[in-house]
Structure formats: structure tokens, C-alpha cells
């Protein structure tokens, strides 16, 4: 007997595109070519429908309410939590904390997990390719508590220098905070190996999965990770919501972050006790409509053949990589093996902002700037790059438009 072979349907990008109303619009009379999903992804109709339907038929505040709508809204909110749990393969639903985004999830770990106990001289290890959201909270600990930041470098191709982790993690290291996928280089980090090395020294690991969760399949149990962060708006979901996965034992020991409704047990004039996680970390009215949207986005995504999605995105990336290699005036930054669908580059004598402006007029939306990664810019000795980032709704035709736009920019700026 042989195991049944799963025949993957070829990924139908056109069918997927049809679910995204915005992709049929034009800008300046040109077809929109949206290559800025790394900054924020567009939303499929299922997400927009879910939010609207929920808001106009079952909306109320969650928890505490005994009435019908409140029960319905609570069910929806908690169902979204279970959807995130499933998406990350967390062991328990109460290991998922809803936040307002990826940035807040990382700050929550800084304020609630590290700040109460960190001592001057304690160390935090992070990489030079982190997004500011995975740098600034640790700078706070440096400024306010005397923590020391230890930077792990990347190689010239953008790969993480994993070997150097062992040297970086010392007896005073309190956390390794590392991206799952760089929003500039596309580099995917070997989380399993990083975690093994950190755990060997008893150090917990936080992965910034704001990009990684979009392109990779995440299994927090298989990774044996301590903290994993995602953000809704890059996952084809709404703004205003993100999530922190944290191991139950960590959550139970963590101090509250925001204080307010929902997160307490008893409030008296001179005394206060707090609720158990995850409620302890969800002060105030949570992003209820957004949870409905995020739940719909993840359900939709999990309903696709994710391996086929990944193959499609990798095809776009290698096609684009190959196409731009015809331009000898263009230098790609980030060529790590196995990298995700992000292409950053510098162009001789053409500033990223000029490039992006000209591409925009051709309908091609790319990002130009430091991408909230100034430490990485310094590492590659640039002030900015132009970045094209690909999502499941992009096609080779989009790459063609990018390439044509680049040629045009060269013509405009170099005559």
C-alpha cells in the first residue's frame, strides 16, 4: 500500500485576483500593479464581507454581556482567537493575545515580560536586519533600564550569520529577538536552529513574524518558540489588529501592560488583582470587528493550498530576480538562499524616491526609503532602497510592468 498522493492544483492567480476588488482599479489611467504588499496587503472580498456582515447584523461589545448580540459577538471574537491558534498551531487558545498590531505585540513582550525583571547590563540579542518595531522596544530597555543590545550581523547576501549567535548569547542574555523574514532583504531566518541554540543556553526567543507568517507556514509547537508575533493587515486582514503567541508559562508570569476593563479580577480603592491570560493583556474594548476580519482572512488563507501559494510567490521572485539582472545599473540587496518574495535594490545614479515616483506614474506601486530598517541600511551603506514585494495576487505580468517601469525610469533620469 502506498500513501495517497496529494495532487496539488496549479495555483490560479487570476481566480485569486478576482477576490481583491482594488486590483481592478487604475491609477493615472494605468492598470494598478500593486507591489507594496510588504508594507500592507490588500483585502479580499471575503474579509470585507465578513467585517461588514458582522458589523451590521451581530455587533455588540464582547464579554460581560448576557444579551444575544453580545453573546454572538463574543463567540465571533473567540472563534477568531481559535483561528489564530490553528494558523500558528498553538497548543492552547489562551496562548493567543490579540493586540493592535505587530508592533504592539513586541512592545507587550518588552513591557510585560522583560521590563519588570531586567537589570542593568542584561543583554538582548537582535539582528541588524530587524524592523524598527523589533528594535525600538529594546532601545527603550537600554535607555530606561540599562540593558545592552547585542547585534548579530548578516552576510553580504543577506543571510543571517547563525554561527555568530553562539558568541552573542551570553550568561546575561535575556532574550533573542529576531525576525522570521526580513521586510527588506526577504531573508528567512532558520528559526528552529536559532531557537535550539538559544534554548541550549536557557534563553527565550521572540520571532517577529509580521512578514514570515504571510509567506511561511508557522508551527509554534514544532518550533518550540517562546513568542511569535503577527500583524493582521499584512495577512490580507484589516488594520488595527495583530496577535502575540506566547507560551502559557510566560504569559502567566507576565505583568499587565495596558490597564482597564476586561483585564482585572477585582478593583478596589487600594488594591487590585488581575485576570488570567489572555484577558490580562487585553485591556479595554478589543478590536472586535477587526477580529472578525482577521478570522476570515486566515480561514481563507488556510483554505488555499499554501504550498502552491508559496511556489507561486517564489516563481514571481525568481522571475523578477532574473529579469532585473539585465540592468547592469541595478544592484539587488538580499540574495539569501530560500528568501521570500521581496526584492530590494539600489540603482546607479537613481535615487529610490525618483524611481518610485516614476514607477508610480506607470501604475506600479513600490516602496522607497529605509523601510523602517535604518540599522540595515547602515549595514549595506545605503540611505534607502526601492522595494518590490510580492503577494499571492501578483502575476508575472506585474513583474513585466515593474521591469518596463524600471527601463522607463532609467530613460527619464539618464536621458
Amino acid at each position: 500500500m502506498t500513501a495517497p498522493v496529494k495532487i496539488a492544483m496549479p495555483f490560479d492567480a487570476e481566480a485569486v485576483r478576482a477576490r481583491f476588488p482594488i486590483l481592478s482599479r487604475t491609477v493615472y489611467g494605468k492598470k494598478l500593479v500593486y507591489l507594496d504588499s510588504g508594507a500592507s496587503a490588500q483585502k479580499p472580498d471575503v474579509v470585507l464581507d465578513a467585517m461588514r456582515d458582522f458589523a451590521q447584523s451581530e455587533y455588540a461589545n464582547v464579554h460581560r454581556g448576557v444579551h444575544f448580540l453580545s453573546a454572538a459577538a463574543t463567540d465571533r471574537y473567540e472563534a477568531a482567537r481559535r483561528t489564530v491558534q490553528k494558523f500558528l498551531n498553538a497548543a492552547r487558545e489562551d496562548e493567543i493575545v490579540f493586540t493592535k498590531g505587530g508592533t504592539e505585540a513586541i512592545n507587550l513582550v518588552a513591557y510585560s515580560h522583560l521590563m519588570p525583571t531586567i537589570q542593568p547590563g542584561d543583554e538582548i540579542v537582535l539582528s541588524v536586519m530587524e524592523h524598527h518595531s523589533n528594535i525600538v522596544p529594546w532601545h527603550f530597555l537600554r535607555e530606561r533600564c540599562g540593558a545592552v543590545l547585542h547585534w548579530v550581523d548578516v552576510a553580504d547576501d543577506g543571510s543571517l550569520d547563525v554561527e555568530s549567535l553562539d558568541g552573542a548569547i551570553g550568561p546575561k542574555t535575556k532574550l533573542v529577538a529576531i525576525t522570521h523574514m526580513s521586510n527588506v532583504l526577504g531573508t528567512v531566518t532558520p528559526l528552529k536552529e536559532i531557537i535550539a541554540r538559544a534554548h541550549a543556553k536557557g534563553v527565550p526567543v521572540l520571532a517577529d513574524g509580521c512578514q514570515g507568517a504571510v509567506h511561511e507556514i508557522v508551527d509554534v509547537q514544532a518550533l518550540d518558540i517562546d513568542f511569535y508575533v503577527l500583524t493582521g493587515h499584512k495577512l490580507y486582514g484589516p488594520t488595527g489588529i495583530g496577535a502575540l503567541y506566547a507560551r502559557r508559562a510566560h504569559l502567566k508570569a507576565m505583568r499587565p501592560f495596558n490597564g482597564g476593563g476586561e483585564m482585572i479580577r477585582e478593583v478596589m480603592k487600594d488594591r487590585i488583582t488581575y485576570a488570567d491570560p489572555p484577558a490580562r493583556f487585553e485591556a479595554g474594548t478589543p478590536p472586535i470587528i477587526e477580529a472578525a476580519g482577521l478570522g476570515a482572512a486566515l480561514d481563507w488563507l488556510m483554505g488555499l493550498d499554501r504550498a502552491a501559494v508559496a511556489a507561486h510567490e517564489h516563481d514571481l521572485l525568481s522571475f523578477a530576480r532574473e529579469q532585473v539582472s539585465q540592468f547592469n545599473w541595478l544592484r539587488v540587496i538580499g540574495d539569501a538562499p530560500g528568501k521570500g518574495a521581496i526584492l530590494s535594490f539600489e540603482a546607479d545614479g537613481m535615487h529610490a524616491h525618483d524611481l518610485a515616483t516614476i514607477l508610480d506614474r506607470e501604475g506600479v506601486a513600490v516602496r522607497a526609503g529605509h523601510h523602517c530598517a535604518q540599522v540595515l541600511m547602515e549595514r549595506f551603506n545605503v540611505t534607502s532602497t526601492t522595494r518590490a514585494s510580492f503577494a499571492l495576487y501578483n502575476t508575472r505580468a506585474d513583474v513585466d510592468a515593474l521591469v518596463a517601469g524600471l527601463a522607463k525610469a532609467r530613460e527619464v533620469l539618464h536621458g
Binding site: Y28, G349, H351, A352, H353, D354, T357, I358, R361, A368, G369, H370, Q374, M377, T383, S384, K408, V412, L413, G415
Partner: protein, 154 residues
């Protein structure tokens, strides 16, 4: 090609951005300021020699940036050399109106003609900051950028 784009990147501007006038550090400047655009990471340093009458006896700039910011800095330096502080301030006001697509009543006809090439930027609101960076830095240099002299530094 797109008209707005052609106007934005017209030859005069590209020429200024490729061959910026008054480019480079200035030794012995009386005033200096650094400008920074956090949106793109671009930087510019403006150096001035203000003479006893408050006249821009000399001016230079240095820095990296996009074509718009470089061209704007270069044109600014060429235009401001020899002017009084008050005159420079008026010119800057006019320029700021122009790049926002507004009337700039205070400009002389000559200045208007020179600066008109920058008017195309008004079609690109996201790029206005690129064009104004050097000018704001100039103002900062005049207002707060006096360099320490031997006596002053004592």
C-alpha cells in the same frame, strides 16, 4: 511620456542634480545646519558665510538625496548667494508657495522664472518635502546655526 513626469524631471533639474552647484563642505563657514528627512533617510548640510550686513557672502551644501532634493539645493545655493537674509527669506516663502502649487506673489519676475522649473513638484505632493529640505535647512543655519568662533567657543 506622462506630462507631469516630464515637467518634474525636466532637463534643468536633472542637470542640477547631476552637477550640483556649490557642492561640498565649506571651511570657516560662519553658519551651518544639518537637515534630515526621516521619511527617506536623506541628509543635507548647508554652510553659509554671512557677512557683517547679514548678506550671504558664500554658500555651499553637501549631502545625498534624490534628484529633486539635490536639484533644489543646488538651485537654492546659486540663487541665494549674494542676497541679504531678508531677501533670502522672501525668496524661500515664494518657493514654498510655488512647490505647493499656490500663488507666490512676493517673487520678483526673475526669481519666478528661475524657480518655475520646480513648480512641477506640486503635482507630486509626496515629494514636496524633498524639494524643501535644503531650504528649511538654510533657514535653520541662519537662525540657529552660528558657528563657535575663537571667542565664542572660549
Amino acid at each position: 511620456m506622462d506630462n507631469a513626469l516630464r515637467e518634474l524631471y525636466q532637463e534643468v533639474i536633472l542637470d542640477h542634480s547631476r552637477h550640483p552647484r556649490h557642492y561640498g563642505a565649506m571651511a570657516g563657514a560662519s553658519h551651518k545646519a544639518e537637515g534630515y528627512n526621516p521619511l527617506c533617510g536623506d541628509r543635507v548640510t548647508v554652510y553659509l558665510n554671512l557677512d557683517a550686513d547679514g548678506r550671504v557672502a558664500d554658500i555651499a551644501f553637501e549631502g545625498k538625496g534624490c534628484a529633486i532634493s539635490q536639484a533644489s539645493a543646488s538651485m537654492m545655493a546659486a540663487l541665494l548667494k549674494g542676497r541679504t537674509k531678508e531677501d533670502a527669506e522672501k525668496l524661500m516663502e515664494g518657493f514654498l508657495h510655488l512647490v505647493r502649487g499656490e500663488d507666490a506673489p512676493g517673487l520678483s519676475d526673475d526669481d519666478r522664472e528661475t524657480l518655475e522649473v520646480m513648480g512641477g513638484i506640486s503635482e507630486f505632493p509626496m515629494r514636496v518635502k524633498c524639494a524643501t529640505l535644503a531650504w528649511h535647512t538654510f533657514r535653520n543655519a541662519v537662525e540657529e546655526g552660528r558657528m563657535a568662533t575663537e571667542e565664542g567657543a572660549a
